[in-house]
Amino acid sequence: MRALIVDDSRLARNVLISVVFKAGITQADQATDGIEAVEMASRNNYDIIFMDWNMPNMKGIDAVKAIRELDKKTPIMMVTALADPAQINEALKAGVNNYLLKPFKPEKAAAKIEETLALFSQTKKAEIA
């Protein structure tokens, strides 16, 4: 499985990469801002995208909207330190499927990622049936 990790912080990307490998993902591409994320999402097929919120050049929510406009149905998890319910709701409306709040315990984050992938897979099967 292939993931795209979007965060302007190298530490944040590094931490998340170790977590996604625990969740069964085998390849992790990286983007450092929303513009790069949209460009990579348009060129590649990812099984899941992890999007930071507070980034230079293009904020995470704008990148999510742009990716959804590409008609990409890839599950997107918002990864953010911004624990505000209003912003999380805004993200879900923009097309985010789930979220991870920083800082996170690796085991809990891996479980949440697996849960998101499983749910997305079930939804996809239901749509095909």
Binding site: S9, A81, L82, A83, D84, K102, P103
Partner: protein
């Protein structure tokens, strides 16, 4: 009422309250606790480390005693700045713990990590600050300042609440200068 998280001696507490009341910035004590809790959460969750909060103080300038300062701005109805200041040794210990690898030099990786730490602390406090406000708080991209010969002063006479911490990774301080805009 004394906030539960502010465990100070009586004299310190009342002195700080007087300073807060006299401060032109009207920093409220309830704006400080979310940052203290967020620091604890960062250290316990991400760095597997307990922290101990030391005595809180009010200051009008950041003295040139700490080597790395990570600054993040808040805007919206509650606005101001939050700074995390570390001696180099503490910063290296924190980043080494985060990367699970020995980091011995302050380079771009360390600067990036320190910026992420202040981003997490401010983000963690944001939800509490956004309660009961009309315009939500937004965060700037963090700025990191290096060196031990600089002095930061605030011409607007803003006051900073200084919250020192100690930990097994070393001492550090967070400084908070925020206030709520009227009618928000």
């Amino acid at each position: 009422m004394r906030p539960a998280a502010m465990k100070m001696g009586d004299n310190d507490y009342f002195t700080t309250v007087r300073l807060l009341q006299n401060s032109s910035n009207s920093i409220k004590a309830e704006y400080i606790n979310p940052f203290i809790e967020s620091v604890k959460n960062l250290f316990e969750t991400m760095l597997n480390c307990q922290v101990v909060r030391e005595d809180i103080a009010l200051t009008t300038r950041i003295p040139p005693t700490l080597d790395i300062v990570a600054l993040i701005g808040l805007s919206g109805c509650i606005r101001g700045n939050v700074a995390m200041a570390f001696p180099v040794k503490t910063a290296l210990a924190m980043v080494s713990r985060a990367y699970r690898s020995q980091i011995v030099v302050v380079d771009s990786m360390v600067i990036d990590a320190v910026a992420e730490f202040v981003n997490i602390v401010a983000g963690g406090a944001q939800a509490s600050l956004n309660q009961d406000v009309k315009v939500p708080v937004d965060l700037t991209i963090p700025t990191v300042i290096r060196g031990n010969r600089f002095q930061m002063e605030y011409p607007s006479m803003a006051a900073w609440i200084e919250v020192p911490f100690s930990s097994e990774l070393g001492p550090f301080t967070i400084r908070i200068s925020i206030h709520k805009k009227d009618n928000n």
